[in-house]
Subunit: 295 residues, 2 copies
């Protein structure tokens, strides 16, 4: 099957799994559930839950144990976007071609919907641990998820990103932001998938190394697309980094060398992946696809 | 020992436990940790972790199992205040006599610090489950915490509260807001304490009934204090409900009957408490104190 067809089928599978966990829009507080569901259903690449699913399968795991973590991960990723789009943060009105949550529901509901999605992720995880056949392993996955989502992970990266507007111009800080803001949840996804799929400690180290490279490549590709893509392709305004005076890998290396660096990282990730000696054709193609994507 | 002295000693004990879990202010993202710690250390009655500790002791439990949940609960309560104070929400500049988090650190950092506190609560819980002598019981406590903090609990109540400004004038909606917005975390605190302390299912039902009454009485007392207290005593502006045109139990019943209702609820709660047949003198005095408090 052609990769693109396979990918869209897998994304559909991921979305069906995630949507199963979304709350009913009921009760006096239905509005916040509606805003949560709007935000999650707005689309996106579903990359993080896809990584959980595929790394779980890579190691031969039954994905039933991974499903609640796929939903929780997408809830956490989505909450971070909802809050990131707020006027006091990036002030974005459009995401994936649709009005952002605060444009559609107002700022107060957007703050609450973000909080609700973050908390709901852990409601799903709590149910998963209680009902798991391997509760200790699920608790470890919970530990990974919460750490990589927090101040030592994604929120830490976002904090430095927010502090750095108009400010930074050094590679060290840029790397810190990329590793944490985007890289942390990508790494958590691959590691949770691998862990629940049955990877041993040595294999988890290889997965961690793959995640570092893919996370960085993915973020640099974002910088490149902000310069080279069109609003139509990207579903959000282009040149927004330029508008916001943001220091990126494109300003650091130039467009060409940034592209070259993405290729180098991806090839190294694929090499690591092959070292695991598993049937990893889809994941290899996925990594290649990510660095050639147009949105 | 006089109750007030005992209470202040217990609050000190609670604060020492909570502060032990707060993050070091380190790394490039130290600002968000500073804002988290500022928000938690700003004070308050520490009622929720105190309830966890005292209900755990009531049933004879070792409070070591309860400690991480005390810290997590206070982090969740604090995040809800930080986000509630934001301009798009209640727009409060003063809390407990100190500048609110967004006044001190700016709105973007306040959003992130709130997110960080919510997530950090679950980082603490994840560690607690992995290291617990009774991981299944800790997982149940995690389940209770996450459900009562979310859309079926506190966030649900806040959503209806936000939707209701200038809008509601019916008891049913008011009760919904009070049960969820304030009542949910108070209930979760008592139940988690009792559960970790060793309460059986029948005892947990009694605790739930106590929590319903105390939570409601506590919130109505807040309404009363908003009218009768001074800014100095309360540490935040008085008559803010009036300013915001808020429908409260004071507007519903009048000041005198609202006070009477608080007494009735508290007495019923104390009656339930005595039915448990435990040594509950401190908790009885605490409930009495809460309805006679001036802030």
């Amino acid at each position: 099957m052609e990769f693109k067809v396979l990918l869209s089928e897998k994304i559909k599978e991921v979305e069906e799994i995630i949507y199963d966990y979304l709350p009913e829009e009921e009760g006096k507080q239905a509005l916040v559930m509606e805003a949560m569901n709007y935000s999650v259903r707005a689309g996106g690449k579903r990359l993080r839950p896809l990584f959980i699913m595929e790394f779980s399968r890579l190691f031969g795991g039954n994905i039933d144990e991974a499903k609640p973590f796929m939903a929780a991960m997408e809830c956490i990723h989505t909450y971070s976007l909802v809050h990131d789009d707020l006027p006091e943060m990036d002030n974005d009105e459009l995401r994936r071609g649709m009005p952002t949550t605060h444009i559609k529901y107002g700022q107060a509901v957007a703050v609450l919907a973000g909080d609700a999605l973050l908390n709901y992720a852990y409601e799903i995880v709590a149910g998963a641990i209680i009902n798991s056949s391997y509760p200790y392993k699920s608790a470890i996955a919970f530990d990974i998820l919460s750490r990589y989502a927090g101040i030592y992970g994604m929120i830490g990266g976002q904090t430095v990103d927010v502090m750095s507007v108009n400010g930074i111009n050094d590679k060290e800080t840029l790397d810190f932001i990329y590793e944490l803001k985007t890289g942390a949840l990508i790494k958590a996804s691959m590691m949770i998938g691998a862990l629940l799929g049955g990877a041993d400690e040595e294999q988890l180290l290889v997965v961690e190394s793959i995640a570092d490279k893919v996370g960085m490549a993915f973020q640099i590709q974002d910088d490149i697309l902000d310069v080279t893509s069109s609003t139509d392709e990207l579903g959000k305004p282009v040149l927004s980094d330029d508008k916001n005076n943001k220091f990126t890998y494109v300003s650091l290396l130039g467009l060409e060398d940034a592209g070259e660096y993405v290729s180098v990282l991806s090839e190294a990730a694929i090499k690591d992946l092959r070292e695991l000696g598993m049937e990893s054709e889809f994941l290899e193609e996925l990594i290649n696809y990510l660095i050639n994507r147009k949105n």
